[in-house]
C-alpha cells in the first residue's frame, strides 16, 4: 500500500461543458442505415464556406498568366486553361489501400486474419499496412459534382490525405488534370478565451501502457512511485508533483497477447472466432493500477486501438465493469476517443493516436514498393528510419484541415453519421494531443485566419510509454510541454 505523501493541488474540471458529449454515441441511437457519403457531405457543408473565406482573402486579386483568377463553385464547371480556384475534398487513389473486394474475390478475406495479426509486432503491422506507392499514387479533389486529378510541384511539399477539405488555386491544363499552385485550408474555428489566473497546475499525458499478464510491470510501478513522491522527496520534485492535478491515459492501456479466444479449444473449435482484445487478467491489473493512482491523482482513461472496446471511431468509453475498483472513485473518468476535456479553462482535444497513425500510412511506402533499389523487405534500413519520422506535421495538418480524423471512413472505421461529421471542428482547442506515437514531440502552431488574429494551438505527440518509457507533462498556464522519462 502506498502512502500519499503529496498534498496535491486541484484543478477546476467542469462536470459538463458544451463539447463534453461531442463524441458520445448513446446506446440505441445507432441505425447504420446510411452510407458514408453523408459524412463527406456534412464535412464539405461545414468547411466549404470557411475555406472560401480564406481563399477569397488570399486569391481574390491574384492573376495567373495575366488572367485574373475566378472562383468556380463546382469542380465540374472548371473550364480548361482558365485560372481559377475551387474547394473540394481530397481523395488519395492508392494501390495499396486495403481492398476488401480483392480479398473477397480471391477468397482471402478473413482467412488467417486472427492468427497473423496477433503474431505481428506493432511496428510490423504499421509497416505492413502502409498504403503508399509514390510512383502510382494519385491525388484527387472532388465535390458533389465530380472529381479531378491534382498535379503540380506543390504536392511534393504539402501533406494531403483522403478526407481533407482544401481550396486549390491553379488551372486545368488537360482534361481532368488540374495543376495546383497554391492551397488554402479552412478558417479555424474560434478558440474560447482562456481565463488568466495562473494556478501552476499541470496535466500528465500518458499512453500505451500495454498492460498484460506477461509484461513486466516494473516501469509502471516506478512511474507510480514517482508520482506518489516515493522516489524523490526533494522539495522541487515534491512541488512539481503537487502541481500535477490530472493524469490522462490516452489509449492502449491493455495489450492482449493471447486471449482465451485465440487458443482453439478442442471441444469448441468450430465456433466463430473473432479477434478479441479482452483479457480478464490484464483488465484486473489495469483496474488495480489505476485505483492506486486514484488515491493521489484524478485519472481520465481513453479507449485505444488495443483496448477492449469498439473498433470504430469515435470509440466509446471503456465498459464500467472493467473498473470494479477504480469505478467507485469520484476522481476517475472514462472518456471517449477522440475526446474534448476542459481543465482550468484549457480546452483540450485528444485522440489515442489512430487518426495520426492511419494518416502516416498515406506517406510511407508499402512493403511491396521497392525503395530505390534498397529492397522491399521488412528490414530495409530506409523503412526503419521512415517509421520513426516526425509526426508533428501530421498533427498540425489535422488542425489546418479542421478535422481530427480525415481518413475516416476511407481507411479508418467510423460510425456512418447521418446529419453530422463530429470530426470536423467548430472550435479550435488550446491543446491538441495524440497518444501512442513513436516519440515525444511538441510545438506551438499558428493557425491563420482571413481577417482575425491568428490562433495558437499547443500540439503534443504523446509517446508510447511501453516502448519509450516516456510521458508528457503539460503546464496549464504556459501551455509548455515537456517529457519525463522513466528509466528502469
Amino acid at each position: 500500500m502506498t502512502s500519499d505523501r503529496i498534498l496535491r493541488h486541484e484543478s477546476a474540471v467542469p462536470d459538463q461543458f458544451n463539447r463534453s458529449d461531442a463524441y458520445r454515441l448513446p446506446p440505441g441511437t445507432r441505425t447504420y442505415a446510411n452510407q458514408f457519403n453523408k459524412i463527406y457531405s456534412q464535412r464539405v457543408k461545414k468547411l466549404k464556406s470557411r475555406c472560401l473565406k480564406r481563399a477569397n482573402a488570399k486569391w481574390k486579386r491574384e492573376t495567373i498568366n495575366n488572367t485574373s483568377v475566378v472562383y468556380v463553385n463546382k469542380i465540374l464547371d472548371i473550364k480548361n486553361m482558365t485560372p481559377c480556384y475551387t474547394i473540394g475534398t481530397v481523395f488519395m487513389d492508392m494501390k495499396y489501400k486495403p481492398n476488401i473486394l480483392e480479398e473477397v474475390s480471391h477468397n482471402m478475406y478473413g482467412a488467417n486474419d486472427v492468427q497473423e495479426s496477433a503474431e505481428l509486432s506493432k511496428l510490423d503491422q504499421l509497416r505492413a499496412s502502409a498504403y503508399s506507392d509514390p510512383q502510382n499514387d494519385q491525388v484527387m479533389l472532388e465535390d458533389e459534382s465530380g472529381r479531378m486529378i491534382l498535379d503540380g510541384e506543390i504536392l511534393d511539399k504539402i501533406l494531403l490525405v483522403t478526407g481533407a477539405v482544401i481550396g486549390v488555386l491553379g488551372m486545368e491544363v488537360e482534361a481532368g488534370i488540374f495543376v495546383v499552385v497554391d492551397v488554402v485550408y479552412p478558417e479555424p474555428g474560434p478558440q474560447v478565451p482562456r481565463p488568466m489566473r495562473p494556478e501552476g497546475n499541470k496535466v500528465l499525458l500518458l499512453s500505451g501502457l500495454h498492460i498484460n499478464n506477461q509484461s513486466s510491470l516494473g516501469p509502471l510501478e516506478v512511474l507510480k512511485e514517482y508520482l506518489m513522491g516515493e522516489l524523490d522527496s526533494s522539495p522541487e520534485t515534491v512541488e512539481f508533483l503537487r502541481s500535477i492535478t490530472q493524469v490522462i491515459v490516452a489509449g492502449n492501456s491493455i495489450r492482449c497477447v493471447e486471449s482465451a479466444d485465440q487458443v482453439v479449444l478442442e471441444k469448441d473449435k468450430y465456433r466463430e472466432l473473432n479477434k478479441s482484445n479482452y483479457d480478464a487478467d490484464a483488465i484486473k491489473q489495469l483496474d488495480a493500477y489505476i485505483c492506486e493512482l486514484l488515491h493521489s491523482v484524478p485519472v481520465t482513461i481513453m479507449p485505444g486501438d488495443s483496448d477492449p472496446c469498439e473498433v470504430s471511431l469515435p470509440k466509446q468509453p471503456l465498459h464500467p465493469s472493467f473498473f470494479a475498483k477504480a469505478g467507485s472513485y469520484a476522481n476517475f473518468a472514462r472518456s471517449t476517443n477522440p475526446t474534448w476535456l476542459e481543465i482550468d479553462g484549457v480546452r483540450m482535444l485528444g485522440t489515442s493516436g489512430e487518426n495520426i497513425n492511419d494518416m502516416f500510412k498515406y506517406f510511407i511506402p508499402n512493403i511491396q514498393v521497392d525503395l530505390n533499389g534498397e529492397g522491399s523487405g521488412m528490414d530495409s534500413p530506409v523503412r526503419n528510419e521512415i517509421v520513426n519520422e516526425s509526426r508533428l506535421k501530421l498533427l498540425e495538418a489535422t488542425m489546418h484541415w479542421q478535422n481530427v480524423v480525415p481518413t475516416a471512413p476511407d481507411t479508418l472505421t467510423c460510425y456512418p453519421y447521418d446529419v453530422d461529421d463530429p470530426f470536423t471542428l467548430d472550435e479550435t482547442p488550446h491543446v491538441y494531443f495524440v497518444g501512442n506515437q513513436p516519440k515525444f514531440e511538441t510545438a506551438e502552431m499558428t493557425l491563420h485566419c482571413a481577417r482575425d488574429a491568428p490562433i495558437h494551438v499547443r500540439i503534443v505527440a504523446v509517446p508510447d510509454f511501453c516502448e519509450t518509457g516516456q510521458m508528457a507533462v503539460l503546464d496549464l498556464d504556459s501551455l509548455q510541454c515537456e517529457a519525463i522519462k522513466i528509466a528502469v
Binding site: G146, Y185, D261, N274, S276, D279, S321, S390, R391
Partner: protein
C-alpha cells in the same frame, strides 16, 4: 447497355478449369491486372488510359522527410512564379489536346487513277449487281486510312456437270442455245478435264461441262434443273438427274479463284481501275472505283502485308428509360443516351469519346456531351456522327441482339425515317433479320442480324460466348474475369429516375454508359479479338464476317476449294441427308482411380487426328471401294491400307490425298509462324503471328470434324471413323508398349503402369518418386513409342502431374510440371465446380481443398478446412453471395416447376417493379420453408437478408457440397472417413436465423434470454444469475464480433465508394455479380443487430 446487362447471360454452361490463381490469357499486356476496382480517374471518367496521368518520381526519403518536417503549412505560395512558367509550357502542349475531338478521316491526297496504286486491306465483301451483272464489292481501308469501295466486275459464276456419254464438242453451241432458251442467265459452256474429289479413280481426269451462269439469281435454277433431270437434250442427260459439282456461293467462288483471302491486302494497280463518277457514287467511301477482276492483285499475307490498316473501331452502348418491371420495348421506351468511343486499331487510347443524351447533361471531363431536347433529334445526330466518324468496325456488348435492333425499331416507332442509313452504302436501309444459327461446336442460337454494309460488326458477347466457357456472360462477370475489374451496375429501374432528375443525375448515367461503351474496347484489345480473327480469316480465306455468323465448316470448305482449284478437282454437291449417323469416338483407358503421390508422366500425341490423316493418307481422293480395288488390281498393304474400321485408302505413291496435303501445309505454316514468333520483337507483329499459329492449329483440327459432320457439305464417315479407330488402337498400343518395355523384366526398377488415357494422351506411373528420373523416362518413352508409329505420328512427353488425383474418367486434378524445379500451375479437369447451378461456395471450397491437397500436400489441413467450412455453413456464417445460385429466366413454359421461375412469379406478386423480367438472370438462395420442394424453397437473396429468413444449410451441404467433396476425398481417405467429413461432430452445432415474417412468427413473442445459456431472463438484462461470473469474457466476445462487423461494414462501403469513383454520391450499384454485393447488405443488418446486442451490455454490470 445497362438496361439489359442481365440479358447478356447465356445458357448455363461449364467453365474451364479453375482459374483462380493461374489465370492465363496469353500475351498479357498488363491492362487491368492491377486492382480489382477500376482506377477512378478524373471526374469519374471512363478511362484510365485516356489521360496523361501526372507522373511521379520514385520514393525519395529526403522528399518525405522534408514533407514531414518542412514549413509547408505556412501558406506562403513561395513557388508561385516558378509554377506559372511551367504551367504556360504545359499550356502550349495541351492546347491541341483540348480541341474538339476530330471525327473525320484524313483528307485524300494524291489520288490519281493513272499513277496511284490503291493498296488496301479488304474488310468486308458482298455480292451485288452492277449494271445488272453480278459483281463483288470490297470495302477496305488503305494504309493512309482512306476508306475504299472497290467494285469488282467481270467475274461469272459457274458449276460443273460430268459430260454425259454422247455429248461432244460439236454439240456445245447447240446445247448452249438450248440452255439459253430454257434458262435465264446462262452465259457460257465449255468442256474441261476435271476429277471428282470423291474416291480414288486411278488419277484419271474426265471431261466436265463448265456451265457459266450469271450471278446469284439464276445459277440455282440451272443447277437444280441438271440435278432433277429436267434437262432434255437429245436424251443425253439421265432423267433421274445428274450430279453437279462445285456448289459454293458467288462471293467465295470469286475470292477463291482470285486467291483473295478475308482481311487480306489487295491492289488496284494504277491505270486499271476507273473511279466512279461523283453522280453515280453509291457509298460514303473516299475512294470508290471499278476494276475488272483480272486486274485486281491479291497480296499474300506476309511481310508488310501482315500489317493492319489503321482501322477505326467504334464501341457504343445505349441506355433506355424503361418502365418499372418491364424489359424495355422499343415501341414504348425511349432511348435516352448513346455513348461512343472510337479508337484506331492498335492504339489503346480512343480518340473520340462522347455521349449523346436526351435533355441536358453536365459535362464529363475528357468526353464530349451532345444534348438534345428530343429523342428524334438525338437519333438523327447520332446517325450523322456514325457517318462522319465512319467506323470500319463496330463493336459493343450484345449490340447484335439488343442495341442495333432497339435503335432501329425505336426510330421506326418514332417515325424517324432517315435514321437507319448509317452503312457505307448511302441508300441501303438497315434492317433487322432474324437468323437461326446451329452448329455442333457452338450450339443453337437465335440471332438478329442488321446489315451494315462496309462496316464489320463484332459483338463481344458473341465472341466471348464462342471462344470462352464462362460461368456468366454478363458484362460485369466478363470484365471481372478478363480485366480483373468489378464494374458498377445500375439497376434498370433507377435509370428512368436518373434521366428524370437533373443534368447531374443524367451525367451520372452518362458516365456508366461511357464505361459500358469503353469496356468492350478494352476487352477486344485484351482478348485480341480483331487480330486473332483477322488471322483466322487470312488462313482460311473466308471474309471476316463469316467467322461470327457461320460455323466451322465454311472455313474448311474455303480451304478445300482453294486446294482443289490448283489440282483440277471438283467437289460434288451432295444433298445433306440430315441423318445423324453416330460413329464410335475416342477411347478412354479405364482409370485406375486414386491419389498418386508419385510423379505421373503424361505422353501426348501431337495433333493426333491430323497426323493420323497424314500418316495413313486418309482423304476423299484416296478412298477406295471394293470395285475399284478389283478393277485396278490393287494389293493390300502394298497399294492400299485397310483401316481398323475396315475402310480402304490408297497409299501416297498412287495418290497423295488432298486433305493430308492441306494439313501438311497448315502444320508447316504453323511451325513457321511459331519460329517467326520467337524471332519477332515488334509486339504487334508478335500478336499477329501468335494469332496466326492459333488459327492454323484450329484449322488443322477442324478438318477431321468436317469429314465427320453428318449434316455437312461433304461428310465422309469412312475418313472420320477410320481416324478415331486408329486413335483408339494407338492409345491401346501405347499402353501395351510402355508397360512391356518399362518393366522389371526389362531391367527397370519398377513395372510402369498406365493409369489412365484419354483420346490423345496416356498417363504413366513409372514408379520413381523423383521428378528428374520421371521426366527422363517420359522423354525416352515418348521417343521409343514414336518409333512404333508411322511418320508424322509422334508421341510427345509434355508434362508430369505430381501429385495427381484421379477421380474418374475425365475428372482429375494435379499439379502440372514441365521442369523439375517448379510446378507451372494446378490443372483440373471435369471437377464440376464451375457449373452455374452450383453456388460459389462449392467452387471456392473445392479450389481451396485442391490447393491444400495438391500444392501444400496437407490432406489434414484440407479436412480441417472442409470441416470448418461446413461448420461455418451450418452456423450461418457463410456469406450469402457464396450461396447464390442463378439461372436465366428464358421461357415461361417450362414443363416442370423451376425454382427460379417460381421465384420470379412470387417476386412479381410482391413488387412488379423490381421483379426480374424475361431474359434477366434470377439469383436465388434455398431457404427453409414448410414445403420440401426445391421450387418452393427458392428466395430472393435480398429478401432473405431483409427478413432474416433461414437458409436451408442442409440443402447446401447435401445437394451442393457433398458430391464433389466425396469425389475428391474418397480416393484419398476412403469411404468411411469421407463420410465422417460430411457428418462428423462439426455438423452438430446448427444456428438458424429466426425469421421475422411468415408462418408462426406473427404469434411468436420474443423473450429475452441469457446470452450464454439461453434461459429466459427479465427484459434489459444480458445474463442469468448463473452466468454472471463469465460476464467479462462473454462481453469481450460480443465486442470482438462487433468489431469484426464494424470493420467489415466500413471496408465494404468505402470500397463501393472507391469503385464508383465518388465520395459524395450515394452508392447505387446493383451489380449482383460483384462478390461483395450481398455481403455489404448483410453486414449492414448484422452490425445493427450486434449494436442492439451490445446495448444490453451497457447497463449490465459484473
Amino acid at each position: 447497355m445497362s438496361a439489359t446487362t442481365s440479358k447478356h447471360a447465356g445458357d448455363a454452361r461449364l467453365e474451364g478449369p479453375n482459374k483462380r490463381q493461374h489465370l492465363d490469357i496469353s500475351l498479357d499486356d498488363g491492362v487491368g491486372t492491377a486492382t480489382a476496382h477500376s482506377l477512378p480517374t478524373a471526374n469519374q471518367s471512363i478511362t484510365p488510359h485516356g489521360y496523361h496521368l501526372p507522373v511521379h518520381g520514385k520514393f525519395d526519403r529526403q522528399k518525405l522527410h522534408n514533407k514531414l518536417t518542412g514549413g509547408q503549412f505556412e501558406n506562403e505560395a513561395s513557388t508561385f512564379e516558378k509554377e506559372l512558367v511551367s504551367m504556360s509550357k504545359k499550356e502550349s502542349e495541351a492546347s491541341f489536346q483540348s480541341d474538339r475531338q476530330r471525327w473525320d478521316r484524313p483528307a485524300v491526297v494524291g489520288y490519281d487513277p493513272a499513277t496511284y496504286d490503291v493498296d488496301f486491306q479488304q474488310l468486308d465483301a458482298e455480292e451485288t449487281l452492277i449494271n445488272d451483272e453480278a459483281a463483288v464489292r470490297f470495302f477496305g481501308v488503305t494504309e493512309e486510312g482512306y476508306s475504299v469501295l472497290c467494285n469488282v466486275v467481270g467475274f461469272r459464276h459457274y458449276f460443273y456437270v460430268p459430260v454425259p456419254k454422247g455429248l461432244t464438242q460439236d454439240d456445245l453451241d447447240d446445247f448452249h442455245k438450248y440452255l439459253r432458251t430454257n434458262y435465264q442467265g446462262v452465259q457460257g459452256l465449255e468442256i474441261a478435264l476435271k476429277e471428282s474429289i470423291w474416291g480414288y479413280n486411278n488419277n484419271t481426269k474426265l471431261p466436265f461441262l463448265k456451265v457459266v451462269v450469271d450471278g446469284i439469281k439464276h445459277i440455282g435454277k440451272v443447277r437444280s434443273a441438271f440435278e432433277r433431270g429436267e434437262i432434255e437434250y437429245k436424251g443425253l442427260f439421265p432423267p433421274t438427274g445428274s450430279m453437279t459439282f462445285d456448289n459454293i456461293q458467288f462471293l467465295l467462288r470469286m475470292m477463291v479463284d482470285c486467291r483473295i483471302t478475308g482481311m487480306g491486302w489487295l491492289r488496284a494497280p494504277a491505270g486499271t481501275y476507273t473511279p466512279v463518277p461523283p453522280e453515280e457514287v453509291v457509298s460514303t467511301c473516299q475512294l470508290e472505283f471499278t476494276i475488272h477482276y483480272k486486274d485486281l492483285v491479291s497480296h499474300a499475307s506476309e511481310g508488310k502485308y501482315l500489317n493492319m490498316a489503321p482501322l477505326r473501331i467504334l464501341s457504343f452502348d445505349i441506355e433506355c428509360a424503361g418502365r418499372k418491371g418491364i424489359f424495355p420495348e422499343a415501341e414504348h421506351d425511349p432511348v435516352i443516351q448513346i455513348a461512343n468511343v472510337v479508337a484506331k486499331a492498335g492504339d489503346p487510347v480512343p480518340f473520340v469519346r462522347n455521349v449523346f443524351t436526351v435533355k441536358s447533361c453536365a459535362p464529363i471531363v475528357g468526353s464530349e456531351t451532345f444534348s438534345y431536347e428530343s429523342e428524334e433529334e438525338m437519333l438523327l445526330k447520332w446517325k450523322e456522327f456514325i457517318v462522319k466518324v465512319d467506323p470500319d468496325v463496330i463493336i459493343g456488348y450484345n449490340i447484335a441482339n439488343f442495341d442495333f435492333p432497339y435503335l432501329i425499331n425505336r426510330a421506326r416507332a418514332l417515325g424517324v425515317h432517315d435514321f437507319p442509313y448509317f452503312a457505307r452504302l448511302k441508300n441501303s436501309k438497315q434492317e433487322i433479320k432474324e437468323t437461326f444459327f446451329s452448329s455442333r461446336a457452338y450450339g443453337s442460337r437465335e440471332n438478329k442480324v442488321v446489315n451494315i454494309e462496309g462496316r464489320m460488326q463484332l459483338d463481344l458477347l458473341q465472341f466471348i460466348q464462342r471462344e470462352y466457357k464462362l460461368r456468366s456472360y454478363t458484362l460485369n462477370a466478363v470484365s471481372a474475369h478478363f480485366l480483373n475489374e468489378q464494374k458498377e451496375d445500375v439497376q434498370h429501374s433507377i435509370i428512368t429516375d436518373l434521366q428524370n432528375g437533373n443534368q447531374e443525375t443524367r451525367r451520372r448515367l452518362a458516365v456508366y454508359c461511357l464505361k459500358d461503351a469503353y469496356l468492350p474496347l478494352r476487352l477486344a484489345e485484351k482478348l485480341m479479338c480483331l487480330v486473332n480473327y483477322t488471322e483466322m480469316a487470312r488462313v482460311t480465306g473466308v471474309p471476316f464476317s463469316f467467322l461470327l455468323s457461320r460455323g466451322q465448316q465454311i472455313k474448311v470448305i474455303s480451304q478445300l476449294f482453294r486446294k482443289c482449284l490448283d489440282l483440277d478437282i471438283v467437289i460434288p454437291n451432295i444433298k445433306s441427308e440430315g441423318v445423324n449417323e453416330e460413329y464410335e469416338g475416342a477411347t478412354v483407358i479405364e482409370p485406375v482411380r486414386g491419389y498418386y503421390d508419385v510423379p505421373i508422366a503424361t505422353l501426348d500425341f501431337a495433333s493426333l487426328y491430323p497426323s493420323i490423316m497424314m500418316a495413313h493418307n486418309l482423304c476423299y481422293t484416296t478412298l477406295l471401294n471394293k470395285q475399284t480395288v478389283e478393277r485396278l488390281g490393287l494389293k493390300q498393304d502394298e497399294d492400299y491400307i485397310v483401316t481398323p474400321n475396315g475402310d480402304m485408302f490408297v497409299h501416297p505413291h498412287l495418290r497423295k490425298g488432298i486433305l493430308p496435303t492441306i494439313l501438311q501445309e497448315l502444320l508447316a505454316a504453323r511451325k513457321k509462324a511459331k519460329q517467326d514468333l520467337k524471332k519477332e520483337t515488334d509486339p504487334f507483329k508478335k500478336q499477329v503471328l501468335n494469332g496466326r499459329q492459333l488459327a492454323l492449329k484450329i484449322s488443322a483440327n477442324s478438318v477431321y470434324g468436317f469429314t465427320g459432320a453428318t449434316i455437312g457439305k461433304l461428310p465422309c464417315l469412312a475418313i472420320s471413323s477410320s481416324v478415331t479407330a486408329f486413335g483408339r488402337v494407338m492409345i491401346e498400343q501405347t499402353k501395351a508398349e510402355v508397360q512391356r518395355h518399362y518393366s522389371i523384366e526389362n531391367g527397370y526398377e519398377y513395372d510402369a503402369q498406365v493409369i489412365y488415357g484419354d483420346t490423345d494422351s496416356v498417363m504413366v506411373k513409372f514408379g520413381h518418386s523423383d521428378m528428374e528420373t520421371c521426366m527422363r523416362l517420359g522423354e525416352e518413352a515418348a521417343a521409343y513409342v514414336s518409333t512404333k508409329f508411322k511418320h508424322p505420328i509422334k508421341l510427345e512427353f509434355e508434362k508430369v502431374y505430381f501429385p495427381y488425383l484421379l477421380i474418374n474418367k475425365k475428372r482429375y486434378a494435379g499439379l502440372f510440371w514441365t521442369n523439375p524445379h517448379k510446378f507451372d500451375k494446378m490443372d483440373t479437369k471435369g471437377i464440376e465446380t464451375v457449373r452455374r447451378d452450383n453456388c460459389r461456395l462449392v467452387q471456392n471450397v473445392i479450389t481451396r481443398v485442391l490447393e491444400l491437397i495438391l500444392e501444400e500436400r496437407d490432406v489434414e489441413a484440407a479436412e480441417q478446412f472442409v470441416k470448418k467450412t461446413i461448420a461455418d455453413l451450418l452456423q450461418n456464417r457463410v456469406d450469402l453471395s457464396q450461396l447464390v445460385i442463378s439461372k436465366a429466366l428464358s421461357r415461361q413454359d417450362y414443363a416442370a416447376k423451376q425454382p427460379h421461375v417460381e421465384l420470379a412469379e412470387r417476386m412479381r406478386k410482391r413488387d412488379a417493379g423490381s421483379a426480374p423480367t424475361l431474359g434477366d438472370r434470377v439469383a436465388y438462395v434455398i431457404i427453409k420453408t414448410a414445403g420440401d420442394k426445391n421450387y418452393e424453397k427458392s428466395e430472393d437473396p435480398l429478401y432473405v437478408l431483409e427478413n432474416s429468413l433461414p437458409i436451408d444449410t442442409k440443402y447446401y451441404l447435401e445437394n451442393q457440397l457433398a458430391n464433389p467433396l466425396t469425389r475428391i476425398f474418397e480416393p484419398i481417405l476412403g469411404e468411411r472417413r469421407t463420410k465422417e467429413l460430411l457428418h462428423g461432430s462439426h455438423t452438430r452445432t446448427v444456428a438458424v436465423s429466426a425469421a421475422k415474417t411468415g408462418g408462426l412468427m406473427k404469434f411468436a413473442r420474443k423473450s429475452n434470454t441469457c446470452k450464454n445459456c439461453k434461459s429466459p431472463i427479465p427484459e434489459g438484462k444480458a445474463l442469468c444469475r448463473n452466468c454472471q461470473g463469465m460476464a467479462g469474457e462473454l462481453y469481450g466476445r460480443e465486442l470482438a464480433k462487433m468489431n469484426n462487423l464494424e470493420t467489415k461494414f466500413s471496408r465494404l462501403w468505402t470500397e463501393c465508394q472507391r469503385c464508383q469513383g465518388s465520395l459524395h454520391q450515394e452508392v447505387l450499384c446493383s451489380n449482383k455479380d460483384c462478390p461483395i454485393f450481398y455481403m455489404r447488405k448483410k453486414c449492414q443488418k448484422d452490425v445493427l443487430n450486434q449494436a442492439e446486442e451490445l446495448k444490453k451490455w451497457d447497463a449490465a454490470a459484473w
